[in-house]
Symmetry: C2
Subunit: 449 residues, 2 copies
């Protein structure tokens, strides 16, 4: 269903692929709102300097200017590369008119000038939730982020098994400091590349570029090996023999997240101590999410806690957030043929048109069906009925409605899959629930059509 | 609810303002899908030359390039200024994999580097429907566009009275040609400015800049005066005494649109012969839409028929479309204080937390309510109940839930507006339907809260 985009990195879906994306977006929006998150959007552009101050992706930013402005005369605007940095700016700007803790969700496109590859795009849609508070943010929101996203995934039964991996920056930084490493940021960056380049290459980076002793490299890599769906990770880390106060703090925070998530939704969330996150604004809990069997696609849902991103110099607004990579997820589902829509169009019914003079009667039938929430369209041409049925069939529309004819026969509706045709009243007839709207099903499943 | 944007022309709403925008978007999406329109999105950027070839707004295009690319080395991309030109490109690119006539809706942001003013933005959201076919497009879709949008407006009862105005380019061009005018495009452009600059200025433009004789100017302005909700406009035009074949064709097409729309939804759609539309790709029927009493805001819903926009040189895909200016409409509703949300957040219920140890019990209550589609959040802190009630009150959350305490009292729920508190079971209790989700109501109306 995906088609090769003619602009590399700027994906576009066919209507049936877009139905898959809509299913993901609808589930996310519904779950987010049930959890009391308010919808927000921020403008697509930010002053360049706001964007370049944050994160490590300055090379990937797209600048924007009016085409007839002189170069240099522009206001130095750029497209946002994520939704967290603009949200932090929005919070500081509007603090006096917002209620804290602020729970918001934000579903928008972001842009990054990266080299396009499988699962990596230059324009893509993210669905974020964040909670920010004034000066202090309650710890329970860190488990909450993972649990809300786990509910979104549970609402998408066609997904492969999902694993939300949690770590804490304090564990990594404390552990590295406990080993006597001074440039912990450098080690973090190397560990963040573990999935991409493998352990041997990271070992080389740490030893040759980072100047770490073999024993330190061994310890760093041993820590990165630890993962557990229960609290056992705490002892495993302690068994490595490194002692550090920040490490202990991080372990306690991660233990609290795993205790809550494993009690509420067993098996979905796990501690995974190799998760580092590239963006440099995270200060504690971090998340990445993988689909079993498709780990090479990268994380489909990432985020973390940021204690100092949003500040006006006097007041700080600590936050925690997690971001669903909608485009990456949908590109995987479509590209690997994992799902399909039961039909291409919203319409459950095609209302046939007997002749041009009676088009109004067909329009009236359609209006009656829509009034009761049944999506339908009227045949564009008063062709032979066989042709009109073929029109419905090509679109996957399951029912064709025949308005009462001049021969005194009443209205009837035909299920073109079974061929069954029954008398029907546009004021009362309804399709089966599974036929009312297109469904997204696993590609291996028998669909409704 | 609107706040002065710090980047002029790039509006951002507060959460309660965004609720108004969501209500508009939800109504549009629901009605579009009931009418069998498929959702589509196109990328936000197009090659600059594709954009500059179309329309008359070359000065307003925003170009985009990677910030670290050398100037001149970019691929010459720009942000789209509408959704019609990208859709036409998409149709031609994907024609072999689409079913025609293609009915699609598209809700996305667009960008124009215009001077910001009331109702005019540099970034704004449009909600478009279009129908395109191969080589020939059935005429009934021209009435259909206006009727579908009229249904969207009817689903937004808080709107002022809406008037969808329809004209036909062929009437204007044929009439002008019948007057002996050769540069009809120039006259069209002048007439398009009628609302903005007034009749005197247009008269001056036509006479001094356009070189038209006084009698021709009189006739052009007389035509622009004609408006009618019924077929009477045909005779009024004919009474002006201009004879031209293209004019007759246009009159017949407009009469067909008005005949259908006045029969199906009397009073919403009218013929208005001063509507010209600035973009130069329209070839027949054109639409503009005004809110009574707020005409100065400009059209909130515009479009038209374009017979030659989408073509690969061999095959042409004629289309007709209409675009709802979501941001302009929402900015009017918020800026003029015409509507309000019954609360600021999705949550209908705040689940109180008795003490930190029993937070899990409160989480379980919330999970039970959400399972039955009741939006709720759990109090962020186990403060005194009075404080937790104030937390709910500030957000407009109507109900506070008190989980069963250690004193063997069962669960109870309090309507904090009336003060009434009743025993309740999280597995069965529901709020009244009007309290379940925030509602958008006319500002003068008693709300649910």
């Amino acid at each position: 269903m995906a088609r090769p985009a003619t602009l590399s990195g700027f994906p576009e879906w066919l209507p049936e692929g877009r139905l898959v994306e809509l299913a993901v977006l609808d589930a996310a929006q519904r779950i987010f709102e049930l959890h009391g998150f308010s919808s927000l959007e921020t403008r697509s552009v930010e002053p360049v300097d706001v964007l370049l101050r944050k994160g490590e992706i300055d090379k990937e930013v797209y600048s924007v200017r009016r085409i007839h402005d002189e170069p240099g005369s522009d206001d130095a605007l750029a497209l946002h590369f994520d939704l967290t940095v603009p949200f932090a700016r929005y919070v500081v700007e509007n603090a006096g008119r917002l209620e804290f803790p602020l729970r918001r969700y934000q579903i928008q496109k972001v842009w990054r000038g990266e080299r396009p590859q499988e699962g990596r795009f230059r324009e893509f849609t993210q669905a974020d939730i964040d909670i920010v508070d004034v000066n202090e943010l309650a710890a329970q929101h860190e488990a909450e982020m993972a649990l809300v996203m786990a509910e979104v995934f549970a609402a998408l039964p066609f997904l492969p098994t999902v694993r939300i991996c949690v770590n804490n920056r304090k564990i990594l930084e404390g552990f590295y400091a406990g080993l006597g490493i001074t440039d912990t940021a450098n080690v973090l960056r190397a560990i963040d590349k573990l999935d991409k380049v493998g352990a041997d290459r990271v070992r080389q980076m740490l030893r040759d570029d980072g100047g770490l002793a073999d024993s330190a490299v061994d310890a760093v890599l041993a820590l990165a090996q630890i993962r557990a769906a229960d609290m056992s990770f705490v002892q495993e880390v302690q068994a490595l023999g490194v002692r550090n106060a920040l490490l202990d703090e991080g372990l306690a925070e991660l233990a609290a997240v795993i205790a809550t998530t494993s009690a509420r939704q067993p098996g979905v969330v796990m501690a995974d101590l190799h998760i580092a996150r590239g963006l440099d604004y995270y200060t504690g809990t971090v998340y990445e999410t993988f689909l079993e069997g498709y780990e090479s696609f990268g994380s489909i849902c990432s985020g973390g806690r940021y204690d100092s991103l949003a500040t006006d110099g006097k007041t700080t607004y600590p936050g925690v957030g997690i971001s669903l990579g909608v485009t990456r997820l949908v590109s995987l589902l479509l590209g690997r043929g994992l799902v399909r829509a039961t039909r291409k169009v919203p319409s459950a019914v095609l209302v046939a048109v007997t002749d041009d003079e009676s088009r109004g009667a067909s329009d009236a039938v359609a209006a009656g069906l829509r009034q009761r929430g049944i999506p339908c369209e009227v045949a564009p041409r008063a062709a032979k009925f066989g042709k009109q049925i073929k029109y419905a069939d090509r679109r996957g529309i399951p029912f064709v409605w025949f308005p009462a004819g001049a021969d005194d026969a009443g209205d009837s509706v035909k299920d073109i899959r079974s061929g069954e045709q029954i008398p029907a009243d546009p004021g009362t007839w309804s399709p089966p629930d599974t036929d009312r709207w297109p469904q997204i099903v696993a590609a291996t499943e028998e669909g409704a059509s």
